[in-house]
């Protein structure tokens, strides 16, 4: 990282982030004056050894393990695992169960996008937006709690189906909640595309062309904001997405603003799909039997988590324990995009570029390590100060 000029290395530990089995330890940015000249990622703070853990647990226990890979998209992980196991076993969950899986997955997407919106707003100094979006998010959490019994870690899946049913009363409550959420989403879209303070931090920042996004392996809304038509629900529909198709939300600009716009517009799609499912929920069973011991063989499943494509691979060896479980989470791809797009940007833009890929959360347990390579002394600063640095910087140049 050392250069011959007077430059400083900012080590920005982001703290555990989801949706990872392994979560980022820190990013390192080398800065020359104000401009970033190099970037590097070192993960590991939340590496818990889940893939190895699954080898020592049977398939049912591993389901509960995969639910806790990430607290924000716990359902999609469990769904992917259940779908992969069902594929390996050669069974299909009944249509009603698949539809309920999609219902909960879209509700989770709504909760995740609202959460991200608040955190990203906080990064840019917009704390009111953070408070409002998290308050609105409580509506989704209430819905999920009334359906599944928990606000987080809904545990809706069993191998072979789902645990709970949706009745008419619950459906009406969900519809009411969606009305409120849609109204709020319209309001946030308005703020994001019209509020000057916001645009200063997002328009033209962190731009990725379509080609760059493809080459760097971007997935999810980050890729779609650069006009890359990648969405597993459309390309490789799973669960009930064939019966309830999604319209991909794309944006051509590829900057941080585009990433905001794509995620908010996806909220409308989620609401539409949920309404469609509630209106036409297929009748039938909720589970189908999955044998305890799974045959030898391999199964691959890709699903669309709120952050992008999630890849699951299971290898069975005829026993009741997986021989190998592989989970490739979307953020690992999107980190590469941060590293490449950060170079050439101001240090003050780093918080927003990082938020743009939806790197989960927690503004408060991040510490920044500043190392002056000429003096070899070390200072622990807080991420708060880097965040405020960005906010102050833009306040100064506005004057």
């Amino acid at each position: 990282m050392a250069t011959s000029k007077v430059s400083e290395t900012f080590v920005v530990p982001i703290g555990p982030q989801h949706p990872a089995l392994k979560e980022p330890g820190h990013f390192e940015f080398t800065v020359d004056g104000e401009i970033v000249t190099n970037a590097y990622v070192r993960l590991g703070y939340a590496h818990r050894g889940i893939e190895k853990g699954a080898e020592g647990r049977n398939y049912i226990q591993s389901l509960y393990l995969t639910e806790r890979i990430c607290g924000i998209c716990s359902h999609i992980h469990a769904t992917a695992f259940a779908l992969t196991v069902e594929k390996l076993a050669g069974v299909e969950a009944p249509p009603r169960a698949q539809a309920i899986r999609v219902l909960v997955a879209e509700l989770e997407r709504i909760h995740s996008h609202f959460l991200w919106l608040g955190v990203a707003a906080h990064e840019s100094g917009f704390d009111t937006l953070f408070m409002y979006s998290w308050r609105d998010r409580e509506t989704v959490m209430d819905i999920l709690e009334s359906l599944t019994g928990n606000r987080v870690n809904y545990s809706a899946n069993v191998l072979g189906g789902v645990k709970f049913n949706v009745d008419n009363e619950q459906a009406d409550a969900i519809r009411k909640g969606l009305e409120f959420l849609e109204k709020r989403a319209h309001h946030y879209l308005d703020v994001v595309i019209n509020e000057a303070m916001f645009l200063q931090r997002t328009r033209g920042i962190g731009t990725m062309t379509r080609n760059q996004a493809e080459v760097m392996g971007a997935v999810g809304p980050t890729a779609r904001a650069s006009n890359v038509p990648r969405d597993v629900r459309v390309e490789a529909p799973y669960a009930a997405y064939k019966e309830y198709p999604i319209n991909m939300v794309l944006d051509t600009r590829g900057d941080v603003e585009a990433r905001f716009v794509v995620r908010i517009k996806e909220l409308f799609e989620c609401c539409r799909i949920i309404r469609q499912i509630l209106d036409t929920l297929p009748p039938g069973e909720l589970t189908t039997r999955v044998p305890r011991k799974l045959p030898e063989g391999e199964a691959v499943m890709r699903v669309e988590a709120p952050r992008g494509e999630l890849f699951y691979f299971i290898r069975g060896n005829g026993s009741d324990k997986p021989d190998r479980l592989k989970v490739r989470t979307p953020s690992i791809n999107n980190f590469t995009t941060v590293i490449k797009t950060a170079v050439g940007h101001q240090l003050a833009d780093i918080p927003m570029i990082l938020s743009g890929i939806d790197p989960c959360f927690s503004c408060n347990d991040r510490m920044v390590h500043i190392q002056n390579i000429h003096k070899h002394d070390e200072n622990w600063m807080t991420w708060e100060e880097l965040r405020r640095y960005g906010i102050e910087y833009y306040r100064r140049i506005r004057k």
Binding site: K22, Y40, V41, R42, L43, G44, H47, G49, E51, K52, E214, V215, M216, G217, E235, A236, P237, G297, E298, A299, V300, R302, E309, F311, F313, R315, R324, K326, R328, I332, N333, F335, T336, K340
Partner: protein, 157 residues
């Protein structure tokens, strides 16, 4: 192209060059290509990329067991609904695969993980350190191998 057409195109592509491969179709939407000569791995990948047959979705390391003396690496490409898997076998001791970073930059993270979890060297990979494992992890201990002994990496006090 639908899934069937994609897989047929891939099969024909692999046959049309004189590569040492074994092609099987374990499921309707999957194609397994066993690459017998390691030096042909990159040309095959380039050919797939040129035909736009999928992007690299994951690199999966597998341990078929210490008694086989080998480790397996799967390169998973995903065009649409299909999954094309290139399978490569390397020896357990000092096995190595070439890095794909020059053609596919996003492979870097996958390769770093493969190296630290299985002990397979990736020639040409520029970043030397761990991606997920802690800095004080002992050398030569690879967690995802079947013969991993947790006692060799004791927890600090």
């Amino acid at each position: 192209m639908n899934t069937e057409e994609i897989l047929t195109t891939a099969k024909e592509l692999v046959k049309s060059w004189d590569w040492a491969t074994e092609v099987t179709q374990p499921a309707a939407d999957r194609l397994d290509v066993k690459v017998k000569e390691l030096k042909e791995l990159i040309p095959i990948i380039v050919a797939l990329r040129v035909k736009r047959l999928g992007y690299l979705s994951a690199i999966v390391g597998l341990d078929p067991g210490p008694e086989t003396g080998e480790l397996e690496v799967l390169y998973q490409f995903c065009p649409g609904n299909a999954v094309i898997t290139l399978r490569v076998r390397v020896p357990r001791k000092k096995g190595s695969v070439p890095s794909l970073c020059d053609i596919i930059p996003s492979a870097e993270s996958y390769e770093r993980e493969l190296r630290e979890m299985f002990g397979i060297e990736v020639t040409g990979l520029r970043t030397p350190d761990h991606l997920y494992l802690p800095d004080d992890w002992p050398n030569g201990v690879y967690p995802l191998r079947k013969d991993f002994d947790p006692k060799k990496a004791p927890l600090p006090k």
